[in-house]
Point group: D2
Chain length 356, copies 4
């Protein structure tokens, strides 16, 4: 199912080169004000080829709201949006049907759907499907913000170039606001040129490069989530792994905690203004699957875009032979900058579901 949620239900539809992509979001309460310009800002952050500009009015990738919002207020009915596919040149994807791209879903989708899936542009597996996800997240994060919950992410690394991490015990509102509106979101902006060089170098080599995105949810009340399969980590991870190209998710100090002793990893409690806080936040704001009231912090790993122009070994499924594949067309050498908005959107959706 292209489908997420228990209390809210998000259904995502569409194929990259079909008529449209879109989303239906059920379970949003009535009476919430939605600022469509803020939605467009998020859509623009994810849109291709735009990372230097941030015009809110983006004519392509325009989400037509078909129901659920009337005069800027939610009606309680499902919120449906359709984003027409306009920029779909009729390239010949036919050879991809028989020669699957390494690292891509071509082969596995071929097996699962018996060759009936829409292969053009990756079909329903395309990164384009994250556009309606960003739409849904952009709706829900506005409602979360009314409750004092804000979400921001940044490019934590591209290849070997790393941004500074969040300070997990204290994240400024101004940083949250800045990152969550940025098209190349960095905490240490001095790293931008180095990161862009890393991407350009990959592009020059007809190659691509991976990276990581770190995300923080600030203002989360303590006591949300639950034990075992009800935990925040499981809920967030099941959503985050729904983003194409994500191969790892960790909370707090994550894989690093496996090298530590309890006395190093435990976060000491203390009181401040009658509120219970922790001196460190190695847990990423989650203990026993339940929020502690500290910022929820997690990181996701994105693999390098599999579609590269370099010749690659593959197979020809129609002939049953080994072959070499050269992929034509323009492909993102690094999706990480655009993925920041997607991670935030997915976090908003999962957090909203937890709170409903």
């Amino acid at each position: 199912m292209s489908f997420f949620g228990e209390k809210i239900k998000l259904t995502v539809f569409g194929e990259s080169h079909g008529e449209a992509v879109g989303a239906v979001l059920c379970g949003v309460p009535a009476g919430c004000k939605i600022d469509m310009d803020k939605v467009l800002v998020q859509i623009a952050r994810r849109a291709p080829g735009r990372d230097k500009t941030a015009t809110p009015r983006l004519e392509k990738d325009f989400p037509e709201v078909k129901s659920g919002i009337l005069n800027g207020v939610t009606t309680g009915a499902p919120i449906a949006c359709v984003i027409e596919n306009t920029n779909t040149k009729s390239k010949d994807y036919n050879n991809l049907l028989s020669v699957p791209r390494p690292g891509h879903s071509d082969y596995t989708a071929y097996v699962k759907y018996g060759g009936n899936n829409d292969i053009r542009g990756g079909g329903h597996f395309s990164g384009r499907l994250t556009a309606p996800i960003v739409f849904a997240g952009a709706i829900l994060r506005q409602i979360l913000e009314e409750k004092g919950i804000k979400i921001a992410a940044h490019i934590s690394s591209i290849g070997s170039v790393e941004d500074s991490p969040f300070n997990p015990v204290s994240i400024d509102d101004s940083l949250i606001n800045e990152l969550s509106n940025s098209s190349f979101a960095l905490i240490d902006k001095s790293k931008e040129s180095e990161m862009r060089a890393e991407v350009e170098s990959a592009r020059f080599d007809l190659d691509s490069i991976g990276g990581t995105v770190e995300c923080a949810v600030v203002g989360m009340p303590a006591g949300v989530g639950g034990p075992l399969f009800e935990g925040i980590e499981g809920k967030l991870a099941s959503a985050l792994f729904g983003i194409p190209a994500v191969k790892g998710v960790e909370f707090g100090n994550g894989f690093n905690c496996a090298k530590l002793r309890g006395s190093e990893n435990n976060d000491a409690f203390y009181y401040e203004d009658k509120k219970v806080l922790t001196e460190t936040n190695n847990s990423g704001g989650i203990l026993g699957g339940i929020s502690s009231g500290m910022p929820i912090v997690f990181k996701t790993a994105f693999k390098p875009t599999p579609s590269i122009a370099k010749p690659q070994k593959s197979v020809d499924l129609s002939k049953g032979t080994d072959t070499t594949l050269e992929i034509k067309g323009r492909h993102d050498p690094c999706i990480v900058p655009r993925a920041v908005a997607v991670v935030e959107a997915v976090a908003a959706i999962a957090i909203f579901d937890l709170l409903s």
Copy 2:
């Protein structure tokens, strides 16, 4: 919900110092033969204080099957099991109610349940709840094995000591069989003494130590899973993060792929005996959320046990003041060896659900 699954439904119940823990497993087909001795082997692998022996007949932690299995064959009705809590000395956990253990669920559970949760031994948050999970996994993995799907995990690291990894393109059946019956599962057995020394050193210091578990699913047919929120990664991760103490999950080369270029990370396809294989398996056997037919390989990070004997800073919730906590009683300085059986069980449950 202490609850997992879409096609199968696993419900886990119980509290550490209550009457019993247990599980109900719905959706298991009728007519499957279940070898109860094999179930007991798995229960024993997870049981406390047993890592040097592996007697299958373990009188404590004995799972009483209340329904769903008749004469060693599944009936199609829900499989219910109850594991009585026998070894529950009536310790005084009362002070934990007001002084939460750092790194533990005490504080967050207190907030969520308003102090009504059973705090004794961690209550429903206790690692003891993994016993019924191992029971459920031990049932389902037998049915998976009938379909040629086998699951094994090993201690990938404890602190700074690392085991050798799986060779992700080729995993021997004999290795799978050995690991999945072992109580201290290692690929490179020469690391055992070093790892035990790491644990003993932590224990000596009244401390604990974390680690990682790597798991492989072999024999998975290609074409299982799906795009977006239907993917194998999301399904497995949502289950794995349900294990207490797990803070990170990665598939294939995971976080490492974020540093690579596409040409390094993509797994080249080739034919062998008319079957499509990949030369490497950086994807961990999953492309576009769907199995490729290669082994599914993933790693989980376990934080160090939060219950340590060293004095720690905490708060007294009843007084609203900072305080120091000294935890009494015997606690595992490292849960990773026992967690291996739990990771395998959870993988079996998630994979079974995907295949149903």
Copy 3:
């Protein structure tokens, strides 16, 4: 949630006087041929003001398929359809916001959504939402027919005029085909004029009239469904009560069985051509929640349309006073003839979910 299904997931969206209504259907297998003309026939059967004609090409209520079907074959991706709302005169529904129509959802929706719901034309509660449901059913019934499962319903009664019932032990294929394409579906066609007179009489009196629809599912294999909450009756009923105006559902001889003795009600088994059949079919083809292989037969009761032109007592919510309401505009005096296609569609959806 405007949402149905476990294995398949149907989400219905839209508001009567909003931009569009539509549906997203997840979980339909890839590779199924879909004849869009057959879909249009079903859409036409449900469409307003058309019961004497049956032109398949209906320009209004045209379902635009946005994804999931390529060249007439399902791709495995979610099937999304949008039906634009064209015929929505900008009537003044404002007074309905404060004066709720008796028997309608106006008052209860007002309470639930705090007055934010789209009241125009009933909004998301409108019978218009059954158009996308018919679309979804029209897709799924084609796939069911490939498996030999056919569904047909008829107007069982309007007011006091009754059609002949199905012979529940033997239903001709030709009858099934005829009914499932008819716009005024009757087994005993001689009753049509009497029924139409009943409707006209109600219309003449500025009133409306209720009725019942009986439905049969033929070709259902034995062994589908399950005990307790997994039963066919529960699954079908939860779907059927999703149709606006349905107030009762019964299977087989239904409420009548409550008056019988076991010896009268039990259906005797016998062999015919090595197949187990029953001499009668009082059970409606369902024993213990599981299909017996006999036709599944059930009946649904539709209340009379609540929107009548006669003056009615109501309240003015804005003033907190009793008042009298006169509803303007043209309203169906009887929805039962059009509801036949909706019952069939809903049955197709629920049966498909059971079989998946």
Copy 4:
């Protein structure tokens, strides 16, 4: 799945002649006081052979609570209960495996489970499985009562003998209390002897008799439920049809509304003490799938017990021939009096889920 609920999750397990039956109930909030004596009263109402007495302490059918309740208060963890099967004489059910009882699940379960199901006493299809359902309902109705929501049902009819119906616009608290504690629940008690005679007459004839149960939910706030598949009717019906032997469910005037005109069926609104009420309650307290604040009233039809001592025609599945079956053993000639407590329990579960 022997499984119900969205916000709460009820799993029922066990087989009639296995070790035990039981239930696990997830999603019950922490901090709710549970009076176990009240639970036992409900268990006793459903227990076999007890309709003249109502001793709360019933030693057989004693529900052992294994988790989720500590010192009479819910902990927030799943509530698990086990009811051991003590009174299971080792009858020979072997011939039932090959000769299915007409009207019973024997044949359909045989097909579904390939003969692996536990046939003894009906296995997982037995009415005995309603004991844990009554347990779950008895927990939840206590929490509902704290919110002012009360539930009661009565024997609406047995065979041709009818009790007086509820007055659907006004149901006394004292009537609710009396019925919901009664073991032969009637509004017009003068009908008891006639009803008992109807049952005795059936028993004398080695036969059984069906009946109906009418149920009311009083104190339900307006605004609960939702449109389409989110409606109260669908939710309640899917639960009610989970009770073995239920073949029909109707809300308000149900099937009778199909014979009426809108002007007769619509419930006029009026104000009383600033509250919106309806003069009649033909809708059964539900409009557009949402509660109106009036009592929710519905009726369920129970078929006559299929296990009758009279010789019946059946088939011998092992021989492939027609045969005659004579069922030995003592069977209830009418389950309707005991079913009253089950209907109330199921209503409590569904209503609780709707309100969560």
